[in-house]
Symmetry: C2
Subunit: 430 residues, 2 copies
């Protein structure tokens, strides 16, 4: 506030109020000095940017990767929650242990067994407030400012934001249709280490990567871990979609044969309910204590009621059958999206054909910047996430992420139909 | 593993298994290099150490500051949860906005109004996964390694652990019976700033400090903020117990008259249910965006179901009446503890007489180290937290924290009765 406006205000406000206003303006200004260096690195995720827009009636949202919850037995789940609170409320509403309940950690080992991790022990599981919190804790435990975290390009934007809050250097590793390219991983690590960098971990979503839908092939899985082990780099395997493979058995996680080199992150957000915010980390035994203490320092303990509700779900419901339902449902939606893309998209585009998960990744011709297309798409009644959201660099991206998880097949088709002219126009303008 | 033992193992294990064992031992060893510097700063809280022990049947736990939940209407709360899940499950079990629901943020402003903060706006409230997470985010947003955080001595051990994970320098400010001593605060800040230190914020629990039960007097409250403002130091006011003053109205928070200089932390853990992990920060408008983004980078969003359950509680239940119930109940327990201390404690001790909250702070004669007394107390059938847990220094402490919140008056008396001979013996041994 300038002195002129303060003088003007003096005619209508008591002196005390003017003091307060001036004091406020002065504090606000001086507080800028107080932010940590990392605070400048924390950005809004584009996915969250469009979170509210996506809710607008009439719009088809192919943006958010929300799971489709309509198929859950809500009435019965409500009764289960009621019973937990009425009969065990003293526990459910009270503080719990920082690592999570033993019952849930034991059940989580069964969930992981369904994916091919057969040797997990409850004492090495740390329950977290969603998988995001598990990523945050990993960065907290391992990363000093300036350390390097390797990520797939593209990768999950929430993880990028979390890691960057720790002032790490994010280094990308290219993927092809079979996931991370092992040779490129090896040379990338070697070059970084030769330059004196501390490479702490590779963050990877090997099955149905968000946003690309790409899956690391079986042949490459052990190679990737071996390259990291040789270079003394941990692997942070994020596998929220692993059980949602459309056909066949889940692919064996990197963790399965590598208990000492992989921190495995799991989540109930995609196979049960994200609003409960229950995820977990399976941590190598020799790293468990520090990981656990760091987790406790952030959240004290994960919400007890939510853990008990997940436990009841895993104990008393056909959770395996529900996963079968999800697999069929998401396969149908993915097929609908691929068919619509075939039907409506102009020439010059290509897209991934995922084996599971929630996303298709569309590549436009070189030179198209998809970010400004978002506004046009919203005007046309459809929302997507521009590719630039999923990379560390500030360069324009010619990609878009389309989520098929939350929208019924008919709406998927309608959304793609609305999107097509926006993309066609952008290509024509090249 | 030495080569001898490997050779011995070779006689009974296949070569592949031995490779795996050797590889595991090697990885584990080399991974030590990968920890961040901050990881070494993250310690187990003594409160959590005794968390499991406190649960043993037969023991009287005066250790944990758990609220007394038996007076909550559990049956009805269960029905409310059932209704939310059955009728609004698509929202309650789904991802939500990173800042928390607008309904809850609006209601939180009403809760704060009951304490004397009359100008809070929902857009400046950030809902967090418990108040612990709000402390973590504050450190993340403001603290570079080496920056100074001021704390009362003694203070909440969970906050100490959280701040130390950011490699801050924790500097203590002494209290007397009226809380922080303003002159000492002023000279402490001046000395630190003269030494070139960046003092970022004062973390304070002005009402019924955990662990001491001490309350910052009304006269000193504005002084403390003014000293900080003058020195461009923020105030992080943690007020989980504010509404639980035994007699009279709640004391006006520091935030009330100082909207630009105080980040206010509130929690439903003490006035409703800690197992839901719902807390909040009321952030000055000019700091809100960075605070909110940092919170989102840690947890993506607070649990939706839990927010909706708290909202229903604040909307449909007599939460003010429940607070009255708690106030009476905790007053009765505090009185029981003070009476038992008068009755059983040997001469040479003194203790605080809190006006609210959960804790009494007992001071033994100089030279007594209370940490080794914990084991003896457990043998005698009672648990407490040694004073050393609540200070940054590693020096022995002659204090103990006794919590009266979770235990009925008769058990409090029994616990103090069991504790007395342990303390008498320690004093006699001086």
């Amino acid at each position: 506030m300038t002195h002129e406006t303060l003088d003007a205000a003096a005619e209508i406000l008591p002196a005390e109020a003017i003091d307060a206003i001036e004091r406020a303006a002065t504090s606000a200004h001086r507080h800028e000095e107080l932010f940590s260096e990392r605070a400048a690195n924390i950005k809004q995720s584009a996915v969250r940017d469009v979170f509210d827009i996506s809710m607008r009636p009439g719009l088809v949202s192919l943006a958010g990767g929300s799971p489709y919850l309509q198929s859950l037995p809500l009435e019965r789940l409500g009764q289960t929650a009621a019973k937990i609170i009425a009969e065990q409320g003293m526990t459910a509403l009270q503080y719990g242990g920082g690592q999570g309940t033993e019952e849930l950690r034991t059940q989580i080992c069964e969930v992981m067994a369904a994916e091919g991790i057969l040797d997990a022990k409850p004492e090495n599981v740390v329950v977290t407030a969603g998988s995001q919190s598990a990523q945050d804790v990993a960065a907290k435990v391992f990363c000093n400012p300036g350390d390097v975290v390797l990520v797939e390009d593209p990768t999950y934007v929430g993880a990028l934001n979390t890691f960057e809050a720790y002032q790490v250097e994010v280094a990308t590793v290219p993927m092809d249709a079979d996931g991370i390219i092992p040779d490129r991983l090896e040379t990338r690590i070697a070059a970084l280490q030769a330059a004196g960098k501390n490479v702490k971990f590779l963050y990877t979503i090997p099955s149905f990567n968000n946003p690309s839908g790409i899956t690391l092939s079986t042949e490459r899985r052990q190679q990737v871990v071996d390259i990291c082990r040789k270079a003394n780099v941990l692997v942070l395997e994020d596998n929220p979609y692993g059980l949602l493979r459309f056909d066949g058995k889940p692919l064996t996680p990197l963790r399965a044969a590598n208990p000492n080199d992989v921190i495995y992150l799991g989540s109930f957000s995609k196979i049960f309910a994200p609003g409960l915010r229950i995820g977990w980390a399976l941590v190598p035994a020799h790293l468990q204590r520090r990981y656990y203490l760091a987790s406790e320092s952030v959240t004290l303990c994960p919400p007890t009621l939510n853990q008990m509700l997940v436990s009841a779900y895993l104990r008393d419901y056909d959770w395996r059958g529900q996963i079968e339902t999800y697999r069929g449902l998401y396969k149908e939606r993915c097929d609908a999206m691929l068919a619509a893309l075939d039907e409506f998209m102009p020439p010059g585009l290509n897209w991934t054909r995922p084996e599971g998960g929630f996303f298709v990744w569309v590549t436009l011709p070189e030179g198209v910047d998809t970010y400004p297309l978002l506004k046009k798409a919203i005007d046309a009644g459809v929302v997507f996430i521009p590719g630039a959201a999923f990379t560390h660099s500030d360069d324009p991206s010619n990609k878009i992420r389309l989520a098929f998880s939350a929208v019924p097949p008919k709406s998927i088709r309608e959304g793609v139909r609305r999107l097509a002219p926006v993309l066609r126009e952008a290509i024509a303008a090249l």
